[in-house]
């Protein structure tokens, strides 16, 4: 089987900027050696390989790094360190699927398809299929701002799924629609599977995971706790949540605190910030030329 996605030591740190000014300091690289800066390790040293035609589920508690992983896979954010090898174009389907609020549904279809690089002819061909799949009736001619969250996700899903991506990343997008729509989507996704596409599937539904995925990754406080056969990992995760729920309120808090604390690290030089400042120094070098030019224009 062909290798589709390979993640090598993927790590993502987020700045914990307490003040707006900290961001600016970072931007200009003035925070060197400032150890009071804290960073949050959202994803820590994650390794995995995914092959063509595989469907991989991602489970985990809220804030465990699932969405960060999906954003990295979709190339929306860059990992702080580590390497991601992708053979194919990824497409992310999330609840907030980047629709333009002031445009009508049908115009959103045109715009999104256009932005994905489809030609006018291709768009005209796809439009009826998308409208039919979204199945929101005459609302398609209404501005998206008037849509319910269900209609919004239906339209977003319908568009994303019709532009024929190689690698699909579905971030809890199915949880908004009703079960009839979820079924319709799962059918469509099965079609994709048969065509040998790779799918990443993020959901909280254990039954969907077992039914639909080949393998499951379990993210736990930024770490990849387990990856393997869908049934066994999902069961393990369900066991964990059951155990967690038996804890008393205090024990739960203590557990969370203990694990979250590990995710905060002091700012290190691992992160290579872009040095805006260096451009200003580079700019200073051409200053003499500019001053000369100014003098010439002024007529000296």
């Amino acid at each position: 089987m062909k290798l589709k996605v390979k993640a090598i030591n993927i790590t993502k740190h987020f700045m914990m900027n307490n003040q707006k000014f900290d961001k600016l300091k970072r931007l200009f690289h003035l925070d060197k050696g400032d150890s009071s800066q804290k960073e949050f390790v959202a994803v820590n040293n994650v390794n995995f390989e995914v092959y063509e035609g595989e469907t991989v589920g991602i489970v985990g508690l809220n804030g465990s790094g699932k969405s960060t992983v999906s954003n990295i896979l979709a190339e929306i954010i860059q990992p702080t360190s580590g390497e991601l090898i992708m053979n194919g174009k990824p497409s992310l389907i999330a609840i907030s699927a980047g629709l333009h609020n002031n445009l009508k549904g049908i115009e959103n279809i045109e715009l999104k398809c256009m932005m994905h690089g489809l030609t006018k002819f291709e768009i005209e061909e796809l439009k009826p299929a998308i409208i039919e799949f979204a199945d929101i009736g005459d609302h398609i001619y209404q501005p998206v701002k008037n849509y319910s969250s269900g209609m919004r996700s239906r339209l977003g899903f319908a568009i994303s799924i019709h532009i024929n991506p190689d690698i699909l990343i579905i971030d809890e997008a199915l949880s908004v629609g009703d079960s009839t729509f979820a079924n319709k989507c799962l059918l469509k996704l099965n079609e994709f599977k048969e065509n040998g596409k790779t799918i990443f599937f993020i959901s909280h539904s254990a039954s969907q995971m077992k039914e639909f995925c080949d393998r499951v990754m379990w993210m736990h406080y930024g770490n990849l706790k387990a990856i393997g056969d869908a049934d066994s990992v999902t069961n393990e995760y369900v066991e964990f949540t059951k155990w967690f729920n038996t804890l008393s309120e205090n024990e739960k808090q203590a557990y969370k605190k203990e694990h979250l604390q590990k995710q905060f690290v002091k700012s290190t030089e691992v992160i290579k910030t872009n040095k805006l400042l260096s451009y200003f120094f580079a700019g200073l070098k051409i200053l003499p030329v500019l001053i000369l030019a100014i003098l010439i224009v002024l007529g000296y």
Binding site: S91, G98, H100, Y279, I296, L298
Partner: protein, 265 residues
């Protein structure tokens, strides 16, 4: 050294269809909720022209002509490019930030967003230039070979706007204050460019540092057949050095930061 600039132009060229289609789409949806639609693209400048003419031409200047040219024509030749430059600079700077939510969820060439805004604004500009030519020649100013220079100055203007908005759109995505600052600066710049009043002497020399001076005076040189663009070689050199410097830094900063835009939001 020029790798990023070449990359930038390559991306524009590869997505030229997308730029024009997105620009057409945007300009269509811009005035969609208006009853008068795209007519506003002419009503709005007409009102402004009338105000500046009454206040500066009839009021302050008492209707005196500028070097034998009616003030109205002189004003019009400066205001028409200004109506294109000002919104292009402000919206071009905002273009990436405005679309980031939509664009970041897909693999989209971010560098064409400023170009889309410029192309969108240029539809109105070309319509206004057409009207300007009719009015100028209607006033009895005959077209000469000089008039052909207009093509060169329009090119200068597009090049300058593109360079500038690549730079400003990146900075204003990273630091939002920049956008607000730029809006104030543009208001001041209207008075620091030779658009509604006639500068002279030392003040004119200092104002020449403003690259918009070059473009706007160039428009007048062409329309009123005053001089060739090579008649002032130092100024020609100054404009292009400045222009290319802005492009160089814009391309470098844009390429460096665009992968991390989402982190800085």
């Amino acid at each position: 050294m020029f790798k990023n600039i070449i990359q930038l132009f390559k991306e524009q060229y590869e997505h030229k269809d997308l730029i024009f289609r997105m620009a057409a789409f945007d300009s269509k949806s811009n005035y969609q909720s208006h009853y008068l639609g795209t007519l506003w693209q002419f009503i709005h400048p007409a009102i402004q022209i009338a105000i500046y003419w009454v206040v500066f031409g009839l009021g302050i200047r008492n209707g005196r002509p500028v070097d034998g040219v009616p003030f109205f024509i002189w004003l019009l030749a400066g205001l028409v490019p200004w109506f294109f430059i000002a919104p292009s600079i402000i919206q071009g700077a905002n273009s990436i930030y405005q679309r980031l939510g939509l664009v970041s969820k897909m693999n989209f060439p971010v560098s064409i967003l400023p170009s889309i805004k410029i192309v969108e604004a240029s539809y109105q500009f070309f319509a206004l230039v057409f009207i300007l030519l009719i009015v100028v020649f209607g006033y009895g100013i005959t077209p000469t070979l000089y008039t052909l220079q207009l093509i060169y100055y329009v090119f200068c203007m597009f090049f300058f706007l593109f360079s500038l908005s690549v730079l400003t759109s990146t900075i204003s995505t990273l630091v939002r204050d920049f956008q607000t600052l730029l809006q104030s600066v543009m208001r001041v710049l209207l008075y620091l460019s030779p658009i509604i009043w006639v500068p002279s002497g030392a003040i004119a020399q200092i104002m020449k540092l403003n690259p918009l001076y070059y473009i706007i005076e160039g428009f007048r040189d062409s329309l009123l057949s005053r001089q060739w663009f090579y008649d002032d070689p130092t100024y020609f050199l100054y404009f292009w050095v400045l222009n290319l410097t802005i492009l160089y830094f814009g391309a470098n900063i844009h390429m460096k930061f665009r992968k991390n835009f989402m982190d800085y939001l």
